[in-house]
């Protein structure tokens, strides 16, 4: 038997359990998309690329 005090805290499970299922599927889908669209292909390049200006005047240093 469920003790009365526990029963109230258990009610939140009706929300949390379905929510966790939905979250799992969303996370899975996002990861799948990320892999498919090449987000993990080049982990080095973009962080350098952001530093390079294409329009800087020559000899500005």
């Amino acid at each position: 038997m469920v003790r009365p005090r526990l029963r109230r805290s258990v009610e939140i499970l009706y929300l949390l359990v379905p929510l966790s299922v939905v979250l799992v599927f969303i996370i899975g889908a996002v990861f799948w998309w990320a892999l498919r669209s090449g987000q993990f292909e080049d982990l080095e390049g973009p962080r350098h690329r952001i530093l390079m200006d294409d329009d800087q005047a020559p000899g500005a240093d």
């Binding site: 359990v17 966790s20 799992v24 080049d42 080095e44 350098h48 530093l51 390079m52 240093d61």
Partner: protein
């Protein structure tokens, strides 16, 4: 060149007084080439660097120099580059790496060469994007690969490649089909299945753990909610992740046999169906967590197994990839008017091909002109470069290192050594060794027995306690999976074969590893096996005041142009000390060579020939020279200077190899058709007790048979060509392959480096593989012996069963993978280089 390595590139702000090339960072020579960069005149070291720097400035890309983290590579001068690049405009050449992206739009995959920092990527991207007709360019810094898309009406691929080359980088077509093979796709899918199973498993555990802890304290509807959530998350695992097992079981059933996938499938399906039934009738236990974990761990084991297999297959594919696609053919030899680029497939025996430094030899042939060294490490596992001079054989797939060479093509396509190797490896992989067949058969019987046992147990428990019966059957099916039994041997063999290949040992027969591990007698041929099998300098005996080194230098100077084996042996021996330049060389056939070095008139050759110059009596020391060796004298007008003894010298590593084999408790023998005295001499030198000389072929056979009659497992080591019958008689035959004769070799194993060290490595790996297989089989048997009775008696829950079985499979596979580490670490630099230069140097 250590000065270059220590040299750090001066930042742009530093005054350019520093004597280094602004572009490539190499020290400046006296004449320098100036370029104005960002308003400041900078010095570059060569015309190539100057041209590249000027190109960068002209295109407004100076900020490259501000952002780069390392100096650029020095561009190699290639005068005929535009012509070579034109070749890439041909549709036949393009079809492997260019695809039509849209009407009039084409997309190519390129592999870039010379990228040292992110600024290089920026530079190339900017330059290509600015070209007329280029639609898109995308460079991956991590993999050095570029994707370029262009409008074929407005530009050509060669123009793009040329723009990259003008910046001092190399761009080679990157053959997608060859590299991104089906295996990679298989691996990717498997990883996905693994990920889904792992993710599902973790989440289902989250629902399962509270249920275990609450222990009936939860209300029925919360429990039901948890079950439904578990079912939802297990569904992808059951329906998608576990597909390979269903497919495997289906294949087995169609072929009317039972493999290891059958009980796995039965276990998964039974557990799932009973759990689903319990969920919807809201009664009884559910075991979704067990299902998910079972699938996850089993897929993990499969993944590891696939890794082992892929690695073995990859090293083989690497071989096949060695041959370049394009070669430079001389149009007429010996009076060439020019050379043209032709696809390697069009080369014919008799063609002459130019090999630039860094180029890969496209087919088997002979050096006609030039001197260089070749790197044959991909073929033989031998890391040291091999000197190549006119007359020497070249093997397709080797890399030319130093100087340009002209070669005459002798064998092409299927007849080359490389194709031969690939064929041999293929054959070995299609043959299952006896132990693997035995394990397979055992696993089949085991599965059949298991299914019967499961049925019987189910019926018995149904009579005792119908509620528990399904779970006990599921636990039994899951816990006793024969994977460990089935995976143990093939995984170990694949890992060992891979390790061997990296040591330069080619396994051409499936049984070779197993038999080598069991071999008790190692029988060596003498000539070419324990000895080098050719003329080599054995000793130098100075007869005047001149030292040993000096004598060698003089001799090498005189023999520098000699084609005679003796002359070449002397030159080879003197390779470390610089040979003196000789003038007025005159060879007297069969006697020797005369010439002048530093004004002295010298002769080298037979003692009588040298005595003819100085009239001195023949030196007494000649009497001590044994029959085994050839004596060569060196002298000037005043007398003899030195005596050289030449002969078939022992291999340097032979003694260590024999000693280590004896240390392992193996019996070593020498068996040779040579004169008894010389065979016994070699045996004494090496500490081999059993020596048999002057043996005719049938006597050799009889010798091996006699050993076998006494229960010996004989490993015969020979050169693989002359002694084929004896090799066939021995249980395992090992040939020392060297260079061009590899293709004719008929042996179970080939030491491609032609060195006996590799034999030791092979023996070591074979023994280790045997040990691992035994460990694996012992572990699998012991595990099942304990698990089956427990499961039958109902002491194992499905969760425990899933963990136990999966851990046992993983243990077996992980244990086998240890073998791959026995080989020396692969040389990644050479590997990368091979991938790059496989496309005819810089494209």
């Amino acid at each position: 060149m250590s000065a270059v390595a220590d040299h750090s590139f001066p930042p742009a702000a530093v005054d350019p007084v520093e004597a280094a090339c602004f572009h490539c960072g190499l020290p400046l020579a006296r004449t320098s080439y100036r370029v104005e960069i960002g308003g400041v005149a900078r010095d570059t070291c060569c015309r190539g660097c100057q041209a590249v720097a000027q190109t960068i400035v002209d295109n407004g890309l100076e900020s490259y120099y501000r952002h780069r983290a390392a100096p650029a590579g020095r561009p190699a001068p290639e005068p005929d580059l535009p012509d070579r690049l034109k070749l890439y405009d041909l549709p036949e050449v393009q079809h492997s790496f260019v695809r039509a992206a849209a009407p009039h739009e084409r997309e190519a995959a390129l592999l870039l060469d010379g990228i040292v920092c992110a600024a290089c990527v920026w530079l190339i991207e900017q330059r290509i994007a600015a070209l007329e007709g280029v639609r898109a360019v995308d460079i991956n810094y991590a993999t050095r690969r570029a994707r370029v898309r262009w409008d074929e009406r407005r530009t050509r691929l060669s123009a793009i490649l040329h723009a990259v080359a003008a910046l001092g980088y190399g761009a080679q077509p990157y053959d997608v089909a060859r590299s991104d093979s089906a295996r990679r796709a298989e691996r990717r899918t498997l990883l996905w299945r693994l990920f889904v199973a792992g993710f599902g498993m973790m989440q289902v555990m989250m629902y399962a753990v509270p249920a275990y802890i609450a222990d009936g304290d939860m209300t029925a509807d919360v429990e039901q909610l948890m079950r439904l959530a578990s079912l939802l998350l297990t569904a992808p695992v059951m329906l998608w992740s576990a597909l390979p097992f269903y497919a495997g079981a289906w294949r087995d059933l169609k072929a009317a046999r039972v493999g290891m996938d059958v009980p796995i499938t039965l276990g998964i399906l039974a557990a799932s169906l009973v759990s689903i039934h319990a969920t919807f009738t809201a009664g009884g236990e559910t075991y979704f967590d067990s299902v998910a974990m079972f699938v996850f761990l089993l897929l993990g084991a499969r993944y590891l197994e696939l890794t082992a297999r892929t690695r073995a297959a990859e090293s083989q594919e690497r071989l096949a990839r060695l041959v370049p696609a394009v070669a430079e053919r001389l149009d007429r030899h010996p009076a060439p008017t020019g050379c043209e680029q032709v696809p390697v497939a069009l080369l014919r025996p008799g063609d002459h091909v130019v090999l630039r430094p860094g180029a890969i030899v496209p087919a088997d042939g002979t050096v006609v002109e030039g001197e260089s060294a070749a790197d044959e490490s991909q073929l033989t596992g031998e890391a040291r470069p091999v000197a190549k001079r006119p007359g020497d054989a070249l093997v397709g797939g080797a890399a030319n290192l130093h100087g340009p060479l002209t070669m005459r093509v002798e064998r092409v396509g299927e007849e080359t050594v490389l194709s031969g190797i690939v064929r041999l490896v293929d054959r070995a992989q299609t043959e299952k060794p006896a132990i693997a067949l035995l394990a397979d058969a055992a696993a089949r019987w085991f599965v059949a027995a298991l299914l019967v046992l499961a049925a019987a147990t189910g019926m018995a428990w149904y009579a005792i306690d119908p509620a528990r019966a399904p779970w006990i059957v599921v636990a039994l099916l899951v816990v006793t999976c024969p994977c460990a039994l089935s995976l143990a041997t093939p995984t170990a063999l694949a890992a060992a074969t891979d390790a061997l290949q990296r040591c330069g040992v080619l396994v051409t027969r499936g049984h070779a590893l197993e038999t080598l591990a069991n071999a008790t007698h190692f029988v060596f041929d003498k000539t070419g096996t324990l000895t080098r099998g050719g003329m080599a300098l054995i000793g130098v005996m100075p007869l005047s005041a001149e030292g040993r080194e000096r004598c060698l230098e003089l001799a090498a100077g005189l023999e520098s142009c000699s084609e005679h084996p003796i002359g070449r042996a002397i030159v080879a021996a003197a390779a470390e000390s610089a040979a003196r330049t000789a003038s007025g060389l005159r060879a007297v056939t069969g006697r020797g060579v005369e010439g002048r070095i530093e004004g002295r008139r010298l002769r080298i050759g037979t003692p009588a020939f040298v005595a003819g110059l100085n009239g001195a009596p023949l030196p007494q020391e000649l009497l001590f020279a044994s029959d085994e060796v050839t004596a060569v004298a060196l002298g000037d007008e005043s007398g003899f200077i030195a005596l050289f003894t030449l002969g078939d010298a022992l291999r340097g590593e032979a003694r260590a190899a024999v000693q280590e084999l004896q240390g392992l408790g193996k019996t070593t023998c020498v068996l040779s058709g040579d004169r008894r005295a010389s065979v016994e001499h070699v045996a004494r030198e090496l500490g081999i007790r059993i020596a048999r000389g002057a043996a005719a072929p049938h006597e050799k056979l009889e010798f091996v048979r006699a050993l076998q009659r006494r229960g010996g497992v004989v490993a015969m080591i020979g050169d693989g060509v002359n002694d084929a019958p004896v090799l066939a008689q021995a249980q395992v035959s090992i040939a020392l392959g060297s260079g061009t004769r590899l293709a004719q070799v008929s042996a179970d194993m080939v030491l491609m480096s032609g060195r006996l060290d590799a034999l030791l490595a092979a023996v070591r790996i074979a023994r280790e593989a045997r040990r691992v297989i035994r460990q694996n089989l012992a572990w699998a048997t012991a595990y099942n012996a304990i698990a089956v009775p427990l499961a039958v008696l109902g002491h194992v829950t499905p969760l425990v069963a899933a963990i136990g079985m999966s851990v046992s499979s993983l243990t077996v596979v992980a244990n086998a993978l240890r073998l791959a580490r026995l080989a020396p670490a692969a040389r990644p630099d050479r590997h990368a280089a091979a991938g790059g230069i496989a496309w005819s140097g810089r494209g």
